[in-house]
């Protein structure tokens, strides 16, 4: 009998459409039988069986470590920690004790030890330490699978090209996947910056994460459609749906191929205004994607990524090596190095001791750097040194709230330069310095900030959240996340005008820059540069080249007189459909009225949203 088609919504983290058979990876679901062993001989055998399972798990981690992709070398220490947990007295000795004394079968004895460890970790106040229970589970699961006789080698599980469906994928799991056989990835857990998402993006595998319940609805062998652009998943699609998506897949691929061919050309409007289009990246490996897609530089290098997914803090030399390689790879194009912008959600890994009731307004980003001056200075030194030869690096401070804070950060920068001079180290003395404009107070004093720096870059994601006072991952208020809110547009205009009055360029490096639908608005607001995910560049460049700057300025003057985001959005949509019909016939416009609200499909109070 034919199964009914179900559509689920997750977070699209790597664009493209994949259609294929699902392959469930049943990780973390080993069934646990429970029985009592009879006789000393059985006990002895069970102990040996357990020890063999541990040895096998140990060895499999060793193999993964050796075969690990060089891009993922940072995870080696994590695998070492897992190896050590396998032999930890609380797991290893405890399990053997339960087998011997209580005559439990090995699986049950191990499960009991793991549960005991869970209790121990749960009682701990420190968030970082409490979170390590995930490592205990990951290590435990390896032994459990061996004991249950499941072959956990993921390479053998994927027999044909398939869409991998899993609850979650750990670094060890992802490292083992045969990605050339993977058509797409779908997971229940995860977000845009989770490990799986980053790997998927860098390998161009259409992926949707955070789909919450997808594993419950999908069986191995089911036909699946994964739309990594919209985050939609269709399970057991109807023939019509398959036809629709096949057509979309083909149209999308052809269209993207065509505009990508022209992506290396500069983005100049028909009336001759050149816009610098750059890429936002977080790892060195993404430079290739950035260049392929026609980036004229890196407008935002998120340096914090290199600090995440690891438990130690990289020292100056390590950072210097990484940054210099980036500078050399991108030269002569410029690279904007944003200093550590560790947010609340990322704090837990590296800075275990700061638990705040309101992290978005807490010790983060530049504040955190000013709090840990040595850490900040070592990063500044690494950046200054890395730009010595190529001179293409720019420095940018995030989350600056006013001139006072900027001056403090500049004082640390001055110290770093003085130290480097004293030590006779080569560095780029006149490296351009900029600030991100993402706090409403920074907009208010933009004219004062402009005197102190060489450029502005507007971080629209945070600016929108802070100025509209909404947390966009909170589903009760996410509908209020309106990039076209008149306040946001006014803030951008005010920032651009303040920058231009002081003779410095102003760009945007938030998600707004990469959304093709906003091109007319951003051109009209007279931004000098736009920095975005590499994959978004060809579409944005294409639309810029087909626009007229002056016409858009008039259009934006009109928009700025409209009182609600909703009306602005409607007008913009009309204009887009008229000016770029084929663009938006093939790819849906990403305006808040359409996509963002669909994303909030789970919203309970839909009737409250103005339509």
């Amino acid at each position: 009998m034919r199964k009914t088609s179900i559509t689920l919504q997750g977070i699209g983290v790597s664009p493209g459409i994949a259609i294929g058979k699902a392959q469930q990876l049943n990780l973390g679901l080993t069934p646990i039988p429970h029985y009592t062993l009879l006789g000393d001989e059985a006990v002895q055998e069970e102990c040996e069986r357990f020890e063999a399972a541990v040895a096998k798990a140990e060895k499999s981690l060793e193999v993964i470590k050796e075969e690990l992709d060089p891009a993922l070398q940072d995870h080696v220490h994590l695998l070492e920690v897992h190896q050590m947990i396998l032999r930890d007295r609380l797991i290893f000795d405890e399990t053997l004790k339960l087998i011997r004394e209580k005559k439990y079968n090995a699986l049950w004895a191990l499960k009991r030890s793991l549960l005991k460890a869970h209790e121990l970790f749960r009682s701990i106040d420190d968030e970082y330490i409490r979170g390590r229970v995930a490592d205990v589970d990951a290590a435990g699961e390896l032994i459990l699978r061996n004991l249950a006789g499941q072959d956990h080698d993921l390479r053998n599980e994927i027999k044909e090209r398939a869409i991998v469906v899993a609850r979650d994928l750990s670094p060890a799991d992802t490292a083992q996947l045969q990605l050339e056989r993977t058509l797409g990835l779908v997971t229940d857990m995860g977000g845009r910056t989770s490990h799986t998402s980053i790997i998927a993006r860098s390998l161009n595998i259409p992926s949707v994460v955070g789909a919450e319940v997808v594993t419950r609805f999908v069986d191995t062998g089911d036909i699946l459609i994964v739309d990594g652009t919209t985050g939609r998943i269709v399970v057991n699609p109807t023939d019509d749906e398959i036809r629709h998506y096949l057509q979309r897949q083909e149209d999308e691929e052809n269209y993207l191929k065509e505009i990508k061919r022209k992506a290396h050309l500069p983005a100049v409007t028909q009336d001759g205004v050149a816009i610098t289009v750059e890429a936002n990246i977080e790892m060195l490996e993404e430079v290739v994607a950035a260049k392929d897609n026609g980036a004229e530089g890196i407008g935002l290098y998120r340096t914090e990524f290199f600090f995440m997914n690891r438990t130690d803090v990289p020292d100056e030399e390590t950072l210097f090596g990484e940054y210099r390689e980036l500078a050399e790879l991108m030269a002569p194009h410029q690279v904007t190095m944003r200093t550590l912008d560790l947010g609340a959600e990322k704090l837990a890994v590296s800075f275990p001791r700061h638990q705040e009731s309101n992290p978005a307004l807490g010790l983060r980003s530049i504040r955190l750097c000013l709090h840990y001056r040595d850490l900040f200075k070592s990063q500044l030194r690494a950046i200054l040194r890395a730009g010595a030869a190529t001179k293409n690096l720019r420095l940018m401070f995030p989350l600056v709230s006013g001139v006072g804070e900027l001056l403090q950060a500049k004082a640390v920068l001055k110290e770093a330069k003085e130290e480097l001079s004293r030590e006779r180290m080569a560095f780029h003395e006149d490296m351009p310095l900029g600030v991100m404009i993402e706090v409403p107070s920074a907009v208010a004093v933009a004219d004062l900030l402009a005197r102190e720096v060489d450029f502005f870059s507007i971080g629209t994601n945070d600016l929108i959240q802070y100025s509209l006072a909404i947390d966009r991952v909170n589903e009760n208020v996410a509908y209020l996340y309106e990039p076209l809110h008149p306040a946001v547009l006014r803030f951008i205009r005010q920032t651009v005008r303040a920058g231009h009055a002081a003779g410095i360029p102003v760009g945007i490096c938030g998600e707004m820059a990469g959304e093709p639908s906003y091109v007319p608005v951003l051109l009209g607001l007279e931004l000098d540069s736009l920095s975005m995910n590499p994959q978004a560049i060809p579409r944005v460049k294409n639309l810029i080249c087909r626009s007229r700057a002056r016409g858009n300025q008039k259009f934006v003057n009109r928009l700025l007189k409209i009182p609600t985001a909703q009306e602005i959005s409607t007008l913009l949509q009309d204009v887009l459909m008229k000016r770029f019909p084929e663009e938006f016939r093939i790819l849906e416009p990403g305006l808040p009225t359409s996509k963002a609200l669909q994303r909030q499909g789970m919203l309970k109070s839909l009737e409250n949203i103005p339509s």
């Binding site: 920690v81 460890a117 438990t311």
Partner: protein, 98 residues
């Protein structure tokens, strides 16, 4: 045989302050265990009255030692002084971190 071992056993301890910025996180705990496992002696780590095995990564992690924690490391066994010396180096070099 057992008696010989007992006679040559020594017990030593030393106090340290956890000096690296991140305190004893997973990788540091792994480093401590790695060093401790090179010796026959029993290794114990004490912090504010709780004592745990220096050869168990989970024990050390759940002792929770952020920067500034005062801990006492003790070693007892035939190679206690060598063990303590090796561990002292680790603590004093901030586990190779800043």
């Amino acid at each position: 045989m057992k008696l010989d071992r007992l006679q040559s056993m020594t017990e030593q301890d030393q106090e340290f302050v956890v000096a690296n910025r991140l305190g004893i996180h997973a990788r540091v705990a792994a480093q401590i265990v790695k060093v401790a496992n090179q010796f026959q002696s029993d290794i114990w780590i004490t912090k504010s009255g709780s004592t745990v095995s220096g050869k168990s990564i989970l024990d050390i992690l759940t002792l929770v030692c952020p920067q500034g924690s005062k801990v006492r490391v003790s070693a007892s066994g035939v190679d206690a002084s060598e063990a303590l010396k090796a561990l002292a180096t680790l603590f004093q070099t901030k586990f190779g971190e800043s």
